[in-house]
């Protein structure tokens, strides 16, 4: 999974020049674990000086935890790695726990969210999560393989 991750040498005010800074980067979970954290909160370096904040992953839910009232924790496996994804409950779900929905084990999901580190564990704070077709997971792999070439070239 070696992308030769390199921190960006440009000052933070120039980071917006990288298109990946503004989008949810489609990455493998294995790559997410190797991204280098920057000094700024929830900003990471990946590939050749690329900057990512938000990511999109596809994978299978291999663990669900609803012990906490505030959030639902999923572990998602895409074949290259497993990552913790945390979904905060809405105020409506907190007031009425019956309305709280969690995706079951084995569900194929597409998750978009902010990459972060919490208690030395890399995780995604879920912005959106939805169920997808197994064929969309295969398509997701192919998209991420194709996009990795872009990560090797610098935006500078």
């Amino acid at each position: 999974m070696n992308l030769d991750n390199t921190p960006c040498t440009r000052p933070p005010e120039d980071w917006g020049l990288d298109p990946l800074f503004w989008v949810s980067a489609k990455l493998f979970i294995g790559d997410l674990h190797l991204a280098i954290p920057s000094d700024l909160n929830s900003v990471y370096f990946i590939g050749n000086q690329h900057i990512v904040r938000s990511v999109e992953i596809v994978g299978i839910v291999v663990s669900v935890s609803t012990r906490s009232l505030k959030l639902t924790e999923y572990h998602v496996d895409d074949g290259t790695g497993i990552i913790l994804c945390a979904e905060f409950t809405t105020p409506e779900e907190k007031s009425d726990p019956e309305t709280r929905y969690s995706y079951p084990l084995g569900e194929t999901v597409l998750i978009e969210g902010r990459l972060s580190d919490f208690r030395d564990e890399r995780q995604i704070i879920i912005r959106s999560i939805k169920s997808i077709d197994p064929n969309q997971e295969t398509l997701g792999w192919l998209e991420r393989l194709a996009l990795r070439d872009h990560l090797a070239s610098s935006f500078i």
Binding site: M1, N2, L3, D4, I29, G30, I60, V61, V62, S63, H75, D77, D78, G79, T80, G81, I82, L84, L105, G106, E107, T108, D133, P134, N135, T138, W141, L142, L145, R148
Partner: protein, 141 residues
């Protein structure tokens, strides 16, 4: 949580070199040929290969014979009683291994999965990851 990711593998690879996979977490895909709730054993078939599955960890799940399933779990050494669970009607037509059982912890139905494209994608993914590993070994930072 110390879960390992399930590496996608094909059944023919598992039955061809079973000791290589013992202890590894894999993702196997195939059609359900038979299931025994009494012994928690299922038989998964893909082409000419058959793999025995231990479904004890999957809990209550409705299985449909003939549907395609994908399972993530650890490959473990099989016990003597597992040999009795192999479907007798198929043994002459398929390749199977008496040495391993997949102890599944996650199952999902994947009816409708385009197996041809899935196989090509897995091969591409492996080739790419292998190339990167070789690059890392030959060009260490």
């Amino acid at each position: 949580m110390e879960l390992e990711p399930g590496t996608p593998v094909f059944l023919e690879e598992l039955v061809a070199r079973p000791p290589q996979y013992i202890g590894r977490t894999v993702r196997a895909t195939g059609t359900l040929h038979s299931y025994s709730p009494k012994t928690d054993r299922a038989a998964l078939v893909d082409g000419q290969s058959l793999l025995l599955i231990d479904t004890k960890l999957l809990g209550v799940h409705q299985y449909h014979i003939g549907q395609t399933y994908q399972l993530i779990g650890v490959v473990v050494a099989s016990a003597q009683e597992d040999h009795e669970e192999l479907p007798k009607d198929l043994l002459e037509d398929v390749r199977y291994s008496l040495d391993i059982v997949l102890q599944a912890r996650v199952v999902r139905e994947v009816d409708g999965l385009d197996m041809a494209i899935y196989r090509k994608s897995v091969v591409l993914l492996r080739a790419f990851l292998q190339d990167e590993t070789k690059t890392a070994i030959t060009n260490p930072v």
